[in-house]
């Protein structure tokens, strides 16, 4: 296996594009090294992106935020400005694994590993995050919900690498939140999860995005769930409609972590709880 540690995004993209064999990106390694240990993957080339300055930076201002692809969860959890604007995105990223894993894991790695249960993804999609993708010759920006196409699969072409995630400008009276269900308090993959991002106007929900995780091959943006709560202050009826819309949007499987029945039921429960937190963070009163 060859190991390269380029210092620019372009170099990384070029290395990936030119590799005839199996090329993998190494950020935190918390998915890649696990797969290598379990003999699920045998890379011919590993491209370490942690020495690329463009991928290490976090900037957060009133105009929006940009988080480099190599930024570890622990760094996100220390960034006060980012936590203030996007508490849901940060708490989702900070739920990926233990403190040890947080010292290494990245949101972009979590995204590109493309597990249906990835923690950072529902919150990013709910936030309207975009991915800056760099290829050998060109750059493009794509909504995060377009990145994952199926379990373990992304829409990135060979030779493309995500350089950073951008989060949009945050209107006042906005709030986001992320919750997941795990049988233990820590160390589990989400059985089902929900990310909600909303904005209020005069105390009433004006815009909303509701995303479910671990209930379908990819995270699911549920427009009907958003519709259920827009125009409301999260009264009982709106919450019931929210839960029902979420249950209807589920397409989960039975596996060693949960059953279809369980995931469908709890998706609605979590969406309601997450919406309430986002609502309160936006300044709404329940």
């Amino acid at each position: 296996m060859r190991y390269e540690a380029p210092t620019t995004t372009k170099q990384a993209a070029t290395l990936l594009a030119q590799e005839p064999g199996v090329a993998c990106i190494l950020a935190g390694g918390t998915d890649l090294l696990v797969k290598m240990k379990m003999d699920m993957i045998e890379p011919d080339l590993v491209v370490d992106i942690k020495r690329i300055p463009a991928m290490q930076a976090i900037t957060a201002s009133a105009a929006g935020a940009k988080i480099g692809a190599a930024v570890a969860g622990a760094a996100l959890g220390k960034h006060k400005a980012l936590i203030k604007s996007w508490p849901g995105v940060v708490e989702a990223a900070n739920l990926i694994g233990s403190d040890q894993v947080q010292g290494r894991c990245t949101m972009v790695g979590n995204l590109c590993n493309a597990s249906p249960a990835a923690d950072s993804v529902p919150a990013m999609i709910a936030a309207g995050a975009k991915a800056i993708i760099v290829g050998k010759d060109k750059r493009r920006t794509v909504a995060v919900e377009k990145i994952v196409t199926g379990p373990g699969q992304t829409s990135l072409a060979k030779g493309e690498v995500i350089e950073a995630i951008t989060l949009p400008k945050r209107p006042p009276k906005s709030g986001d939140a992320y919750l997941r269900f795990t049988p233990r308090t820590e160390m589990d993959i989400a059985v089902v999860s929900a990310g909600v991002n909303l904005t209020l106007e005069r105390g009433v929900i004006k815009t909303a995005r509701v995303v479910l995780g671990a209930v379908a091959p990819t995270a699911v943006l549920v427009p009907a769930a958003a519709k259920a709560i827009i125009g409301s202050k999260l009264d009982e009826t709106a919450l019931e409609k929210l839960a029902a819309a979420c249950a209807a949007a589920c397409n989960p499987i039975d596996d060693k972590r949960g059953t279809i029945e369980y995931r469908t039921k709890v998706a609605g429960v979590l969406a309601v709880r997450t919406a309430k937190i986002a609502f309160q963070r936006a300044g709404g009163s329940l």
């Binding site: 379990m38 003999d39 269900f181 049988p183 233990r184 308090t185 820590e186 160390m187 589990d188 993959i189 059985v191 060693k256 972590r257 949960g258 059953t259 029945e261 369980y262 039921k265 709890v266 429960v269 979590l270």
Partner: protein
Amino acid sequence: MAHDSSYTDQKFNVIGSRVNRPDGVDKVTGRARYGADTTAPGQLVGLILRSPHAHAKIKKIDTSKAEKLAGVKAIVTSADLPDLTGGDRAMLDILENSMARDRALYDGHAVAAVAAIDRATAKKALKLIKVTYQVLPHVTDVDEAMKPGAPIIQPHIRTPGDDSDQPSNVSGIVPFGHGDIDAGFAEADVIIEKSYKTEQTHQGYIEPHACMASVNSDGTGELWVTTQGHFSFRNVCAALLGMDVAKLKVTSSEIGGGFGGKTHVWMEPVALCLSRKANRPVKVVMSREEVFRASGPTSSTSMDIKIGAKKDGTITAASAQLRYQGGAFPGIWGMLGAMTSFACYDIKNVKTVGYDVLCNRPKVAAYRAPSAPMAAFGVESTMDLVAAEIGMNAIDFRLKNAASEGTKASYGPTYGPIGIKPTLEAVKNHPHMKAKLEKNQGRGMACGFWFNFGGQTCTDLNIGIDGTVSLTVGTVDVGGSRASMSLIAAEELGISYEQVKTHIGDTASLGHNDTTEGSRGTFSSGMATIFAARDAIEVLKQRAALMWEIPVADVVWEAGSARAVGAAHGNLTPLSLADIARKSPTTGGPIAGHNEVVADNAGVSFASHICDIEVDPETGGTKVIRYTVVQDAGKAIHPDYVEGQFQGGAAQGIGWALNEEYIYGEDGRLQNPGFLDYRIPVCSDLPFIDTKILEIPNPNHPYGVRGVGETSIVPPLAAIGNALSNAAGVRMDHVPMSPPRILKALEALG
């Protein structure tokens, strides 16, 4: 027979004090050496090829390509491990489990092994070995395995009592009990009959199995291994490989957890076989996945429990039929379950029957009070149901029926002084019972029992020239027992704890010692230490008599010194142990004490636990809010480590109750062989675990000691089941009581 209160009143100098363990510094600095922490010159890496099928005929193993790979030094299959057992079926089972013979019997069963110069080469070599399998039908569920027409795991097994000579998966049917249960049930005002199921769990020790095997061409060999019983490993490995016992030296490394799972050999015979073939040391370390797939988890079970009682709370009859699967080889697990089921109670009419069943799963090994937790789940859950039906408090109902001294136990013997009633009284009066419960929280309690064992033990006590003492014991230290051994030696000799250093001797240094299991470590090695110390004291007295030139009858040993008694010797200054040791080269040479004993009459240990649990009614999620363990230790040699056993066992029981299970697919393959999806409790899952040590002395031990290590895993399953019932009104009958199962039960309530 009233118990001798002199044990309770016995004044100890150092026993019962909370000293620092002698191996503590090594363990907190990373210096301590565990199974994988060793190297040998020229060592090879050994890897094992394992069956991906739950049940398959092995038609052919073609190792030719692998043999040609540069760096491969040996490849072994069952052809390299001939049957030398001379008809000993139990030994042949061990051999077959270490390496499949004509069939792979479970997902993960070893079929071949390789020793190579490095890991990468060994991995490549495994991939080059071509095994031709003929997949056979498989069965992994205990009840399915008992049905007629189920795939047969071991064709030589016959159902006991069945004359038809039909191969069967039922290897044992063992009844216990006394009285007339039909008459007893007829007398009952209330009868509760219920069935329960528990899934398979693993001991979950953090250290995978590891060894360094080094066999020479002259038939001698060494094995460095993480084990609970290096003497037993020596006997087994020597027998399987056709080596002389005395020529195989087995050294136990520090052990990173065992709980019964390291009382059996797994890959050690294969490691020795590889080393013998390669004529070089071979290091074999299991991966975490291999530990789950191919070591010894505990049984999954199903059981039917029936308890009948009068309105006043007297149990008139109790019965249990318990079915335990032992994996692909016969075991005694059902039998143990049948023995422990009603052991806490004094019941006039009781009958239990334990079934041992084979299926296509790994060979079951002991896991801390083996078989008792499952039986206790069924019995203790049913006890609460009966109590509720009568309208009696759960603790009072148990107190009314609790066994005591003189009770004929449901499994046969008559109890001496025991602690079940005291633990129940202690629980009843414990502050935990008064703690306020919030919304969605409930409190449950349950009892548990374990026998504890004695067994063969051999100990040496050697006194150094400066009077410090080297104690060599043969029971592996799994939880801090070296400190207890040092305390015992210090107590007997009348010296300070710091003057004694306890070592675990290798097999070349001592006679046979049984495995550290059955909570026997402190009990047995402690007893042997006491007698070895008393043996040494006799020698010390003789030396003092020699030094003083007085009759030895006039010498006593007191407070760490020899004293001359009698008016004639009144002005002789006492000789300390150090004084006598210093002179030993001229008074007769090295001073030592020695003892071999088959320690007997280990006292049974009872416990009662209290658990508060909170349930999220919308998700079935649970949180253990508060937990208390009350257990009878007889005499706590080192209270910190007794508490540690209580807490550790309780934590394992909590994980078992709520989240841990082996998940098999339709294909008979284990789906969760890792710590990600085999979910043991993490630090944030648990509260502090309160403990209360009771001391009802065991009259058969010089200090009253009872084994304590195991009982604590027995009550949690039912304590949690009962707490869930009180929290949310759901009666769970399937362990683990995971969120999907709880939510389903809540929804069924409506």
